[in-house]
């Protein structure tokens, strides 16, 4: 009782504007998204000419026309290669980058090539218990595999983009986006025409669709789909 009284008297509060994450707009500009779900505003550009991007809770990595760039905690790193479409997977302070048929490990601006034996088009990657898992699309369907093409799971309904998440997978069908958790529970979201996914930050995925940009909050029990504003 004495302890609690002492606690309340000494409590202090810090209040700031919440940032949901970083989105990638149609012009290839990465912008911070401020606010709360379904009520957001966009900040000024933090990166331009972005082709692919992903953000963890603490930092972001992007493939741009000028090469790889990552930023976070007030620091930024650049590397001239590779450019073009890339797939990312975070692993602590590092990230795996798959681009142009090469897999590399990225850490503070340095790239280290990693050998891997995976066949098919790599759509997404994640690190599970220290091992990489890949979502791949082949002629016989979409699969989740590990190095050496060891099959982990099948995603027969996935016809669009796939995003491997922590204890979940997000994939698109023709008329919806499906969040399937490892316990096999599923939620469908009416985001038709999904063309790509971008991890915006902690628990938030951007769904880039033909006609709109959505954000999907994936935190269990707080799932919510909402539109992101578009700057024109």
């Amino acid at each position: 009782m004495k302890i609690l009284f002492f606690l309340s008297a000494c409590a202090w509060a810090q209040i700031e504007q919440p940032q949901l994450g970083i989105m990638l707009d149609r012009a290839g500009v990465a912008r911070p998204v401020w606010g709360v779900s379904a009520s957001v505003t966009l900040g000024t550009a933090v990166a331009t000419e972005v082709v692919s991007m992903a953000c963890s809770r603490r930092w972001c990595i992007a493939s741009t026309a000028a090469g790889l760039v990552s930023w976070g905690n007030g620091r930024q790193w650049r590397s001239e290669a590779p450019a073009g479409t890339a797939v990312f997977a975070f692993s602590g302070d590092s990230a795996y980058v798959y681009s142009s048929g090469q897999l590399a490990k990225w850490r503070e601006g340095t790239r280290e090539l990693v050998g891997v034996d995976v066949s098919g088009e790599i759509l997404s990657m994640r690190v599970v218990d220290g091992a990489l898992e890949f979502a791949v699309r082949r002629d016989d369907g979409t699969w989740i595999v590990r190095d050496g093409n060891a099959i982990v799971a099948a995603l027969p309904e996935a016809t669009g983009p796939v995003m491997l998440l922590d204890r979940a997978v997000l994939f698109a069908t023709d008329d919806a986006v499906i969040l399937r958790r490892t316990d096999a529970s599923e939620m469908r979201f009416p985001a038709a025409g999904a063309e790509s996914f971008v991890v915006m930050g902690d628990g938030l995925v951007q769904i880039r669709a033909r006609d709109a940009n959505y954000a999907l909050r994936i935190e269990a029990g707080r799932e919510k789909l909402f539109l992101l504003p578009e700057i024109q």
């Binding site: 509060a13 700031e16 401020w34 606010g35 009520s39 957001v40 539109l227």
Partner: protein
């Protein structure tokens, strides 16, 4: 000269006849020169684009009493050497030389011409003739003056400044018209050979009236010319032709205001922190294709830029509707998504850029609400500190009072709730906020003793609209 019935006499006095009588054949040279000059000079009429040969007669046709008719003639040198044009005269009542594009006498080079205009002024109803003499070329000019019908237009149509008729303005999509009468003011029957409207198709008429028709003395006919303006054109012109006379008709179309649109939302109840769609339909089809702007504005306890449309410009979107349609397209879509922000107040949607039949302004009230908690967490990872993080919004901008109830790892409440008042912190934060009331609050409690013995915390946050709870947050 009134020549009705005496054309032969007139022909007998033509200069060429006189020339033949005078020359008689004293010398060959005197005989050949005029003939050569005549053959080298051709008389034609010119209508502005085309020349037409003139024979020994030229008929002006019928001209209404009091009117004039002008004809442009050209004396063209069709030979290989110059011709001296020495004679240009017209003799006869009603005909006169109105203009000569040059001087007489003067030489005309090969292929060149001299142009002149002969006017016929119709006086009393009769047949007229005159002799046109161009060097040795004689042409009998004929014309008939006929009684002019008397044309009257009835109110509310008005005589226009150009001698025509101004139709009252008519709303596009509807039809107006003017009633006319044509009367024979003379003592003889009057043939109406032409009674028509030419020009913009918006003017139509007369209906069910066939020409030619004959009006007995003092008889009159009435008829209507309808005026139906169409979308895309505001001013119209046409001619009412009555025999040889043409009366200018002028009319203006009025763009009708857009029927007051019905603005609707995807739900009846709208609150803060939500996204909705707005759509608009018309109660009746639009007469014309129309476009304008849909604007959303917000007034509340504070400014909130997050109240905005989600596509296109943040606060204004273009709208359009097709002619004969009731569906209004907003930014090219049947509906427009928007977000309501995080401030209590009112969102007002207005239409502008086109006249509207009524006030289409629609106001959506965003009621004050207890704090909305988006996420909350508790951490005991810093030595000597218990950290609690709450993300949410307070659309009343009155947050600050809160209480914290701590539980031990066995789930038992540790004493009573600890009250805290961070009102000044929130006021300071909100005073600089322009994008709504969304906040991320980090509260830290210094701890003395084993902080791992505290298992959970529940936060109760109060604002002017009520209370909200985080639920039980586990320290981790």
């Amino acid at each position: 000269m009134i020549v009705s019935g005496n054309a032969t006499d007139k022909l007998a006095s033509r200069p060429e006849s006189r020339l033949a009588a005078r020359t008689g054949g004293p010398t060959l040279l005197l005989m050949l020169l005029p003939v050569a000059a005549h053959a080298q000079l051709a008389l034609v009429t010119f209508d502005g684009t085309t020349e037409s040969p003139v024979g020994t007669t030229y008929n002006y046709g019928t001209v209404s009493n009091g009117d004039t008719k002008d004809v442009r003639f050209r004396a063209r040198n069709v030979g290989n050497s110059k011709v001296d044009l020495t004679t240009l005269t017209v003799s006869g009542t009603g005909f006169s030389i109105l203009a000569v594009n040059g001087v007489v006498p003067s030489p005309i080079a090969p292929t060149n011409f001299l142009e002149f205009t002969i006017r016929f002024s119709a006086a009393l109803a009769a047949s007229y003739s005159a002799n046109l003499q161009v060097n040795s070329i004689s042409v009998l000019l004929l014309a008939t003056s006929v009684p002019a019908p008397e044309v009257t237009v009835f109110p509310a149509c008005l005589p226009g400044s150009t001698g025509g008729v101004d139709f009252p303005p008519v709303a596009i999509g509807t039809t107006g018209g003017c009633v006319f009468s044509v009367r024979n003011p003379s003592a003889q029957p009057l043939l109406i050979s032409t009674l028509s409207v030419t020009g913009d198709a918006a003017f139509q008429g007369p209906q069910n009236l066939a020409t030619p028709l004959t009006l007995r003395p003092n008889d009159a006919i009435t008829f209507t010319v309808q005026f139906t303006p169409v979308c895309g054109t505001l001013n119209y012109a046409a001619m009412l032709n009555v025999n040889t006379r043409a009366y200018p008709l002028a009319g203006a179309g009025l763009t009708p205001p857009l029927p007051k649109p019905l603005l609707s939302f995807d739900t009846a109840k709208i609150g803060s922190g939500e996204q909705h769609t707005i759509s608009m339909i018309l109660p009746s089809p639009a007469a014309c294709a129309t476009s304008g702007n849909l604007t959303m504005a917000f007034t509340g306890v504070a400014g909130d830029q997050s109240v905005s449309f989600l596509s296109g410009s943040a606060h204004t979107l273009p709208f359009s509707v097709k002619a004969k349609d009731t569906q209004i397209s907003i930014n090219g879509q049947t509906s427009a998504p928007f977000q309501t922000g995080t401030t209590a107040g009112a969102i007002t949607f207005t239409l502008n850029g086109t006249p509207i039949d009524g006030d289409a302004t629609t106001k959506v009230t965003i009621p004050p609400a207890p704090l909305a908690i988006e996420s909350a967490s508790a951490s005991n990872q810093r030595a000597g500190e218990l950290d609690i993080t709450v993300t949410g919004y307070d659309n009343t901008y009155s947050a600050g009072t809160m209480s914290f109830t701590f539980f031990d790892t066995g789930g038992n409440a540790i004493g009573s709730a600890a009250a805290a008042d961070f009102t000044s912190n929130f006021k300071s934060f909100f005073s600089g906020a322009t994008t709504g009331s969304a906040f991320l609050m980090r509260v830290s409690f210094p701890v003395i003793g084993n902080q791992l013995s505290i298992g959970k915390v529940q936060v109760n946050l109060t604002n002017s609209a009520g209370q909200a709870q985080t639920g039980s947050l586990t320290f981790q």
